[in-house]
C-alpha cells in the first residue's frame, strides 16, 4: 500500500511538472545555455598547460551541466511541497491511511524520475552539439543514475526545509544559495589545477568536486566501474541523509499538528 502510494504521488509529481512547461523548461534550458556560454567563452583555456587532457571544453563541462541542472530542479521539491501544504492537499492526505513517509517519498521519487529525464536530455543536447562521452552507454547510464540519486538527496534537504518552514517563505529561496555555493565552489566548470590558492583548497575539500570528477572520468576518459561506484556511493550518502531529514520533518510536523 505504501509503495503504491509513493508511486502514485511520484506520478502526480512528474505530471505536475510536465504540465507547466514554464516550470520545467528553464531547468533544462538554463544549464545547457550556461554550459554553451562557458564553452564559447572559455574554449581557449584548454590550451593552458595545467588544463586536463580533454577533447574540448564542452566535454569537460558536460557533467557540470547535469549536476547544476539536477541540483536546481530538485529545489522545486520544496516549492511543490509548500504548494501542497498551502492548498490543503498535504493535510487531506495526512488523514488518509497513507503512511506519513510516503507523502514526502512520493515527491522525492518524482524528483528522481525528473532528474533522470533531465540528465539524459542535457547529455543528449550537448552530445548533439559536439560533446563526446567516451564511456558510451555505460557512462551515460552511470551519470543518469547518479543524477537521480543526487536529486533525492538535494530534494530531501529542500523538503525538510519546506516542511519545517510551512508556507511562511519560499523554502527554495533559502535552499538555492546552499545549492549554489556547493556547486560553484567546486570543479564543476573549471579544473582545480587552474584555481587560485584558497579557492582551490575549498574546491578540493568539496564533495561535489569529487562526484563531478568521478563522473567526468566517464566522459573524458571512459567507463570505469570503480570511479562510477565511488560517485554513486557519495551521492547515496547524501540521499540517505536527505530522506532521513525529510521523513523526520514529516513526523515532527505531524506531532506538532
Amino acid at each position: 500500500m505504501t509503495w503504491r502510494a509513493v508511486l502514485l504521488l511520484a506520478r502526480r509529481s512528474v505530471i505536475g511538472r510536465f504540465r507547466h512547461p514554464s516550470l520545467f523548461l528553464p531547468d533544462l534550458v538554463g544549464p545547457i545555455l550556461f554550459t554553451l556560454v562557458l564553452w564559447g567563452s572559455f574554449e581557449r583555456t584548454t590550451v593552458l598547460p595545467e588544463f586536463p587532457d580533454v577533447r574540448s571544453f564542452l566535454d569537460f563541462a558536460l557533467v557540470g551541466a547535469v549536476v547544476v541542472g539536477v541540483c536546481f530542479s530538485a529545489t522545486d521539491v520544496s516549492d511543490d511541497l509548500q504548494a501542497d501544504i498551502a492548498g490543503g492537499f498535504f493535510d487531506r492526505l495526512a488523514v488518509t491511511p497513507v503512511s506519513r513517509p510516503a507523502l514526502v517519498l512520493g515527491r522525492l521519487a518524482g524528483a528522481a524520475a525528473f532528474a533522470g529525464f533531465e540528465a539524459l536530455a542535457i547529455m543528449g543536447v550537448l552530445t548533439a552539439l559536439g560533446a563526446t562521452i567516451r564511456g558510451g552507454a555505460a557512462g551515460v547510464a552511470v551519470i543518469a543514475l547518479v543524477a537521480m540519486v543526487l536529486a533525492v538527496g538535494t530534494g530531501g534537504m529542500g523538503a525538510n526545509l519546506a516542511l519545517r518552514r510551512g508556507i511562511a517563505e519560499r523554502a527554495a529561496a533559502m535552499f538555492v544559495p546552499f545549492a549554489f555555493v556547493a556547486v560553484f565552489l567546486s570543479s564543476a566548470y573549471f579544473p582545480r589545477q587552474l584555481m587560485d590558492g584558497w579557492f582551490r583548497a575549498v574546491a578540493g575539500a568539496n564533495p561535489v568536486s569529487w562526484v563531478v570528477e568521478d563522473l567526468r572520468h566517464q566522459v573524458v576518459v571512459g567507463f570505469d566501474p570503480a570511479t562510477a561506484a565511488r560517485a554513486a556511493a557519495m551521492v547515496g550518502v547524501l540521499a540517505a541523509a536527505g530522506v532521513a531529514c525529510a521523513v523526520r520533518a514529516v513526523r515532527v510536523r505531524e506531532t506538532a499538528a
Partner: protein
C-alpha cells in the same frame, strides 16, 4: 459623487515604498539579493582567474573583467524581485483591488519600476565595494564608477519592466519566475560578460555582436580597463534607452490583460 482620482505619481511612489518595505520582511530574499552576486564575484575572480593568463586578454585580472557582469547581474536580480512581488499581488487579489480603486493605472506600473530601480542600488554599492576590496583596478576613476552606475540603473529599469510585463501576462510567481530569470540571464551571458569577443567561439561571437548587452557591458566595464571614452559610452546609452522604451511599453501594455 465620485472619488477623486489619485495621480500616477502619488500611486507610483506609494507602491514603490510598499514594495521596498516588503524586502525587509523576507530576509531570505534579501540575503539572495546580496549574497549571490558577491559570491559570483568571488567564484569568477578566483575560480576562473587563469583565464587572464591567456595571451591578449584585455584586463589585468579576471576580476577586472568580471565586475561589470556581476554588478549588472546583481541589479537585474534585484529588479526581477519587483516582478515576483507583482505576481504575488496578482495571485492574492491585491492588484485587482488596486485596479478597482480610483487611481491612474500608469501608477500601478510606475511604482514597481521605481522600486526595481531603488532596490538595485543596494547590490550596486555592495558588489562594487566587495570587488574593489578584493583588488579590482579602476583606472577610469569617478567617471568609470559613473558609467558603471548608469549601466546598472538602465539595466535595472529594463529588467523591472520585463518582469512587470511578464507578471501581468502570466499572473503567477511560479509560472513567471523561471521565464523572467532565463530571459535576463540569456541576455547577460550571451554577450561579452565572461570573455572578450576575440576569445569567443564563432557562434557565441556572432550572438554577442548583435546582443545589445555587449554595448551596455562595454559602457559599464570601460572604467575597469582604462579611461572612460565617448566611443565606449554612447552605444551602451543608446542600447539602454531603446531597451527601456520597448520594455516599459511592454509593461504598460500588460495592464490591458488584467484591467476589468
Amino acid at each position: 459623487m465620485t472619488a477623486p482620482v489619485v495621480g500616477a505619481r502619488a500611486v507610483g511612489v506609494r507602491l514603490a515604498v510598499r514594495d521596498l518595505t516588503r524586502l525587509r520582511r523576507h530576509p531570505a530574499t534579501a540575503l539572495n539579493l546580496l549574497f549571490l552576486p558577491v559570491f559570483l564575484v568571488v567564484v569568477w575572480s578566483r575560480g576562473f582567474s587563469a583565464v587572464a593568463r591567456l595571451d591578449g586578454f584585455p584586463a589585468r585580472t579576471e576580476l577586472d573583467w568580471i565586475v561589470p557582469l556581476a554588478v549588472l547581474s546583481a541589479c537585474t536580480s534585484a529588479a526581477l524581485i519587483t516582478g515576483f512581488a507583482m505576481a504575488r499581488d496578482l495571485e492574492s487579489g491585491f492588484f485587482d483591488r488596486l485596479l478597482l480603486a480610483p487611481v491612474r493605472p500608469l501608477g500601478l506600473v510606475a511604482g514597481p519600476l521605481i522600486a526595481g530601480l531603488g532596490r538595485a542600488l543596494v547590490p550596486l554599492v555592495v558588489v562594487l565595494a566587495v570587488a574593489l576590496g578584493l583588488g579590482a583596478d579602476l583606472p577610469g576613476g569617478a567617471a568609470g564608477l559613473a558609467t558603471t552606475a548608469a549601466a546598472a540603473a538602465g539595466t535595472a529599469l529594463c529588467a523591472s519592466a520585463w518582469a512587470v510585463g511578464l507578471a501581468l501576462r502570466l499572473g503567477s510567481v511560479r509560472r513567471s519566475v523561471h521565464v523572467m530569470q532565463t530571459g535576463t540571464a540569456a541576455l547577460l551571458y550571451l554577450s561579452t560578460g565572461l570573455a572578450p569577443v576575440a576569445f569567443m567561439s564563432a557562434w557565441l561571437r556572432a550572438v554577442a555582436r548583435v546582443n545589445p548587452m555587449t554595448a551596455v557591458l562595454a559602457l559599464a566595464r570601460q572604467g575597469f580597463l582604462g579611461p572612460v571614452t565617448w566611443d565606449q559610452t554612447w552605444p551602451g546609452l543608446c542600447a539602454l534607452a531603446a531597451g527601456a522604451t520597448l520594455l516599459c511599453a511592454f509593461a504598460v501594455r500588460g495592464l490591458r490583460r488584467v484591467q476589468p
